[in-house]
């Protein structure tokens, strides 16, 4: 269990897919203008990650290495299509916001990277930890980024029609934050922040009982 | 022939206190001299004398069996008191023969250079080296590889460094020697053309040489630093660029400083070895002048001979000119063959103190000024982060350390020092230029 936890935790901070490994950046920067959409993006990625990791790690023995990439990618694409179709059917407003970014989860570097890099070499148990850890890490960062961009860039955070947070009325939200330059710039600071955090975590690990 | 001059370069000013009007006069012989055994490029000499031995003026006191080297001679009659390491004006430590000068000196006679039918041997045993800066053994330059042909001998009278005037005075006062020496070299190497190149700010020298000039051309070049640098000079005079990694003889040219040429004439005509040279003492000294100085005289004695520093003097004393010279850490260093001048800079005249963290503002002034057409700012930046490979691919090794870049830099970056660090590094790593 402790191994499971440590694999899971790695995805949150020291091996965070977005701020450390720097994979899966596209959808993160693209959809993080709204917390609502980002949350579902995070969940969608987590779902695909979990399902494909589990499937890959259970079937890895039968998949010859020469064709592993095509096989993995078909598996992933199938789960993505499932998400795509279900979201269209059940959450049309969220789907309208996320648009093409759902199909593009297929090529989200994070998903294939973990399938190939982790699940292919580990059992189901640890692979699920990795998938959930990476998924949580991904979702955490993307929601954080979205929260910053939405509240500072539009002045409010609106979640399914309800206003969660609003800046004072005098606040003139700078649009740049919700436009594409803002995505990069805010993310730069999020990465800097998380790096600082990671340094502290590492320092603590170093100091800890040997 | 492409374009008239080399690209780049600068116009440094600050020739106040220059010694260009002062006639050459002998400096006093100090009681004690230190003659370094390594005064030329190449192998250091081994002492030929022992402590306690007495030596004569012009006697060879150090020599070595090596192709690239030049023997050294005693400039005085006296006694060897010690052989120990001293610091040279260029910051290197070298073994030196310390001589106590005899109280009576005969300044008209010397041990003559050994007779030899081979002029190269004469040039060698006279201890001739280039007096223009690098102190490269003249013998080697007079003996180009047999598959090359020297068509042009350029006598380098540009003297483009501010303050320095020893070459200028030599041309004014001994034009005959310069011209005769130039022709002599042309004879040795079989060149059909001798060009004396002089910057246009020395009209007096131009007149003097022209008056003597039989069989040599006089080329008056616009004054622009570093007009006197070998490759740039060849470019200005012949329009040809010495290819990268090649030497002047590859393009059929031989460049010699006027001092070297005059010394060569003396070695053959007067059988006089190279044991004294004209040194300019300029800047904030009481009597700026051009002094015929015995090699081995300490800079302290020489400055004292020039009347000592004036009250304007700052704390920087330069061996050589202000652009390429070395700042002295101590005045107790001997005059060597390669030392053309001592400049005592005025307080406030020096380039301000720098530590290398002023940013480059990419103004491209260094870029425009560099006569080697390098990118000094980029080499500087890369050297600062110790990226030597990048320095190499930026051709740091081609830099001639002329200092133009650092002179013009509005940010006062120590570009030359940075580039020099990179060069040293690359040479240690065995990368050939």
């Amino acid at each position: 269990m402790s191994e499971w936890l440590s694999v899971y935790r790695a995805g949150l901070s020291l091996d965070n897919p977005l701020t450390v490994l720097m994979v899966g950046l596209c959808s993160t920067l693209a959809v993080s203008t709204r917390v609502e959409g980002s949350l579902f993006m995070g969940l969608a990625v987590m779902f695909v990650l979990l399902m494909s990791s589990v499937l890959v790690s259970t079937t890895r023995r039968w998949i010859p290495p020469e064709v592993r990439i095509p096989v993995f990618i078909v598996v992933i694409a199938s789960f993505v299509t499932v998400v795509d179709l279900s979201m269209k059917a059940f959450l049309p407003t969220v789907y309208a916001f996320l648009g093409v970014w759902i199909p593009l989860i297929v090529v989200n570097c994070l998903v294939l990277g973990r399938a190939e890099g982790f699940a292919y070499h580990h059992g189901v148990w640890l692979s699920s930890a990795d998938a959930l850890g990476m998924g949580t890490g991904f979702a955490g960062v993307i929601v954080t980024l979205a929260a910053i961009r939405e509240v500072f860039g539009t002045g409010t955070i609106i979640f399914f029609g309800r206003t969660l947070l609003a800046m004072p009325a005098a606040y003139e939200p700078p649009n740049v934050l919700v436009l594409f330059p803002g995505a990069f710039i805010v993310f730069a600071f999020v990465v800097a922040g998380s790096q600082a955090l990671n340094r502290r975590i590492q320092a603590r690990a170093k100091r800890g009982p040997l | 022939m492409r374009g008239a001059l080399f690209r780049g370069g600068i116009h440094p000013d600050g020739r106040r206190g220059s010694a260009s009007g002062a006639t050459i006069e002998p400096a006093t012989i100090p009681s004690r001299l230190a003659i370094p055994l390594a005064q030329s490029l190449g192998a250091p000499c081994e002492p030929l004398v022992a402590v306690g031995e007495s030596v004569r003026r012009g006697q060879m006191i150090g020599d070595v069996r090596a192709k690239v080297s030049a023997p050294v001679h005693s400039p005085v009659d006296g006694t060897v008191v010690s052989i120990e390491p001293v610091l040279t004006p260029f910051g290197k430590s070298a073994l030196a023969v310390l001589i106590e000068a005899a109280p009576e000196q005969d300044l008209e006679s010397w041990v003559p250079v050994r007779e030899d039918s081979d002029p190269l041997e004469v040039a060698c045993s006279a201890g001739l080296v280039g007096l223009g800066g690098a102190a490269f053994p003249t013998r080697v330059k007079l003996d180009p590889p047999s598959d090359t042909r020297i068509g042009t001998v350029i006598v380098n009278g540009c003297e483009c460094e501010p303050y320095l005037a020893c070459d200028h005075r030599l041309m004014v006062e001994h034009a005959d020697r310069v011209v005769a020496g130039g022709r002599m070299i042309a004879d040795f190497v079989g060149a059909d053309r001798v060009v004396v190149a002089i910057e246009d700010d020395k009209p007096e020298a131009v007149r003097a040489i022209r008056a003597e000039a039989t069989g040599v051309e006089v080329r008056v070049l616009p004054s622009r630093y570093p007009q006197g640098a070998e490759k740039q000079l060849i470019r200005s005079v012949t329009g040809v660029e010495v290819p990268h990694g090649r030497l002047p003889f590859h393009v059929g040219v031989l460049v010699h400083n006027v001092g070297t040429v005059a010394a060569l004439w003396e070695a053959f005509a007067l059988r006089k070895p190279l044991f004294e040279r004209v040194v300019t003492v300029a800047g904030a000294v009481v009597r700026p002048g051009n002094y015929l100085t015995a090699i081995g005289t300490s800079v302290r004695d020489l400055i004292a001979h020039a009347g000592g520093p004036t009250s304007e003097a700052g704390d920087r004393v330069i061996a050589g000119g202000p652009m390429m010279g070395h700042a002295l850490g101590s005045l107790d260093v001997p005059v060597v063959k390669g030392l053309s001048g001592i400049v005592v800079l005025r307080a406030g005249e020096t380039a301000p103190v720098v530590f290398g963290d002023q940013p480059c503002i990419r103004c491209a002034r260094c870029w425009t000024a560099c006569p080697m057409m390098l990118e000094p700012h980029a080499i500087g930046i890369r050297a600062n982060v110790r990226d030597w490979d990048a320095c190499e691919s930026l051709h740091a090794l081609d830099c001639i350390e002329c200092g133009c870049c650092a002179y013009v830099c509005p940010s006062r970056r120590p570009l030359v020092q940075l580039i020099r660090a990179a060069k040293a590094r690359l040479l240690v790593a065995g990368r050939s230029p």
Binding site: I185 | R246, A313, P322, M323, A364, D398, P410
Partner: protein, 333 residues
């Protein structure tokens, strides 16, 4: 210290040209001053306050940054002052002061110091500040643009036919609208030359007088502070493209931010190429971008974006154009 007892050793060269970084910056500030002062004269305290706030915020940001980083202050090089002045000159006269302050902070903070300070930024700091503010509050800026009041009343603007058909717009915007409407507004560029040259209050602070900008620019070019190739490439391209596309060339040079950009902003050493050929190309690139957006884009003016876009290509241009080292054939990239 004339006894030469304790010497000072430093690397060669031991003398240096008197041109210092602060000297260069001062020269640019001096060249800008006539335009700046003229805009203050025409538009009164609003303009003066804008200058004060944006210079102040630039200087303060830089000072705080070095202070927090524990490094010596770099204000002495005066580049922050220059950035501040240029930020103000890119803003319309009635810009809210808080917005100018934000522009200054962004310019120095995100545009310059975060890259390592003077000399390290890739993008023109003043334009980064201006662009961020412009994108963020485009609506607000569009509303504050027309200016009426202050001492401006003393110098009546040339009558501009068709001006009132599109309220509160720059002359470039009117020209664009006119072009879009197939000449329906009967816009006549030549009617605007005089006011663009001398007393244009329809644009940003830096656009009040093309004549003064040209004078300042020529001063910089003639004193060799800036390389003539950048302004020439820039303005030449503007003229060429507008002539080729049937737009009035002179109007296109005089109106909008082109002159300010070509002489004072595209020429920023730090963010322009070093090679003369590269500099010309850079100027041409700015001109192309600027004119294409003016004629075919949604925005009437694009100097800011044109220069920023080309700034991004500078390292690439620098790599493409390198000097051929003496005695070598061609530089291998």
């Amino acid at each position: 210290m004339s006894d030469l007892t304790r010497l000072h050793v430093a690397p060669s060269p031991h003398v240096a040209s008197p041109v210092r970084t602060s000297w260069v910056m001062t020269a640019v500030i001096v060249a800008l001053a006539p335009s700046a002062l003229w805009s203050v004269w025409l538009m009164g305290w609003t303009a003066a306050a804008l200058f004060a706030v944006s210079i102040g915020s630039c200087v303060l940001t830089e000072w705080l940054w070095t202070r927090v980083a524990g490094r010596p202050s770099t204000l002495g090089d005066l580049s922050a002052v220059l950035t501040g002045a240029l930020v103000a000159m890119t803003l319309p006269p009635r810009t809210p002061l808080w917005m100018a302050a934000v522009a200054g902070v962004v310019a120095i903070g995100l545009g310059k110091m975060i890259f390592g300070g003077l000399g390290w930024n890739i993008f023109n700091p003043a334009l980064v500040g201006r662009a961020v503010v412009g994108i963020s509050w485009a609506g607000v800026l569009a509303e504050v643009r027309p200016y009426a009041g202050g001492w401006y009343a003393v110098m009546p603007d040339a009558a501009a036919p068709g001006l009132d058909t599109v309220s509160g717009a720059t002359r470039l915007a009117i020209a664009a609208a006119d072009r879009a409407a197939g000449g329906a507004y009967g816009f006549e560029p030549a009617d605007h030359y005089r006011s663009l040259l001398l007393s244009n209050t329809q644009g940003s602070l830096g656009e009040v007088s093309a004549a003064l900008l040209v004078a300042g620019g020529l001063f910089l070019v003639l004193t060799r502070v800036v390389d003539w190739r950048i302004p020439l490439g820039y303005l030449g391209t503007v003229v060429a493209i507008s002539a080729a596309c049937g737009s009035d060339p002179l109007f296109n040079v005089l109106a909008g931010g082109v002159l300010l950009g070509a002489f004072f902003m595209a020429t920023d050493y730090v963010t322009s190429p070093m090679d003369p050929r590269g500099r010309f190309l850079f100027g041409v690139g700015c001109g192309v971008f600027n004119m294409v957006v003016r004629l075919y884009g949604p925005m009437p003016e694009a100097t800011t974006f044109a220069i920023l876009f080309m700034n991004g290509l500078v390292p690439l241009i620098d790599r493409a154009f390198r000097p051929r080292t003496f005695g070598r054939r061609r530089q291998v990239a």
